[in-house]
């Protein structure tokens, strides 16, 4: 066997290479991991809190001096409520209702009840952008990059099992933890999806 390196030499080299690749993938996908983690939390709780827009609603009664009999006096209505937004359009949205568009904000007028509902919308642009990336709204080239990220995650998950193995590796605590992590999603599948 003279001239042949011992078997552990291949093992060490392979493990070192794996470690190096795992680390490089980790660095490269740092940004993507943060985006998907943050937006994952945001999308999970979307029913309780809107991560895309901050919406403020103001309701009230219209000034009794305003006449609603003829064409809708939009400017006067906006002024009487104290709005500074410029009107971008309006439409009759129901028999007695008008929707006035003020950029991304809107003002709904009920001519019968003489009430208004002003909705001010502010985009939470960073979170919205993260969510749009996470939910793959962009399609096209983004799909390739997120596919690459998914494959990278798969590689990191598998290579992670063999890096810092500890004393017993998968035969010890590592194995039990990996098994628990696999079992939990399966329990949910059996309980709720079957």
């Amino acid at each position: 066997m003279a001239g042949c390196p011992p078997a552990f030499f291949f093992d060490m080299t392979f493990r070192n290479r794996l470690r190096q690749l795992h680390r490089d993938f980790g660095y490269f996908f740092f940004g993507m991991s943060v985006i998907f983690a943050v937006s994952g939390l945001a999308v999970n709780h979307i029913d309780d809190w809107n991560p895309n827009y901050d919406i403020r609603v103001k309701t009230g009664r219209l000034d009794s001096a305003l006449s609603l009999a003829g064409p809708l006096p939009i400017t006067q209505i906006a002024r009487s409520i104290g709005l500074q937004d410029s009107v971008t359009g309006y439409v009759r949205s129901d028999r007695h209702r008008f929707m006035i568009f003020l950029g991304t904000n809107s003002l709904e007028i009920d001519t019968l009840r003489r009430t208004y509902r002003y909705e001010q919308v502010e985009e939470r642009w960073l979170l919205h952008a993260f969510n749009r990336l996470h939910l793959n709204e962009l399609k096209n080239g983004w799909v390739f990059f997120s596919d690459f990220f998914a494959l990278g995650l798969f590689f990191m998950a598998v290579s992670g099992l063999f890096l810092n193995r500890g004393r017993n590796g998968l035969k010890g605590r590592g194995g039990w933890l990996a098994l628990a992590g696999v079992l939990i999603p399966f329990i949910f599948v059996f309980l709720y999806l079957m």
Partner: protein, 152 residues
């Protein structure tokens, strides 16, 4: 100087693109539109049919962009347009713009329990107290399940 002209070109291009029609989902195949007012007056006769409607977008789902409310400017009749979550995402900027939507008209029949739950939620949102006596029969609603849309 170069930076200024580059910025000017970018601005002009974005202004030009802002006024352009944007396609969502599948391409529209129908040419003749069905008035929303006609659907509103006789919804049963349109159930299961594929129609093309046109109107102003008055509201958009602000959480998932999964529905829009389209209104016929003349009659004030409205139609709820629903899409499968994630398949088409309508932007909030669609409000006030004209939408041409093609889709299948659907009838949704709720059970009494679901109707009560909906009414409870609506009261909670409006800050009113829920009175069970106000719910006397199960809810029936109609919507257009969109296949494709053009908004401009």
């Amino acid at each position: 100087m170069m930076l200024k002209s580059a910025l000017f070109t970018l601005l002009s291009l974005s202004l030009l693109l802002a006024g352009e029609a944007k396609q969502y989902g599948k391409k529209l195949t129908l040419e003749k539109t069905t008035p929303i007012e006609a659907i509103d007056k006789a919804p049963e006769s349109f159930v299961g049919k594929t129609v093309l409607v046109e109107g102003t977008v008055v509201d958009v789902c602000k959480k998932r962009g999964c529905w829009i409310k389209v209104v016929d400017d003349k009659s004030g009749s409205s139609l709820l347009v629903k899409v499968k979550d994630g398949e088409i995402v309508f932007p909030l900027e669609a409000r006030g713009k004209t939408a041409r939507v093609e889709g299948v008209f659907q009838k949704l029949e709720s059970t009494m329990e679901e109707t009560v739950e909906h009414a409870k939620k609506a009261c909670k949102l409006e800050g009113k107290e829920f009175d069970p006596a106000t719910v006397t029969k199960p809810d029936v609603s109609y919507r257009l399940k969109a296949l494709g849309a053009v908004i401009k």
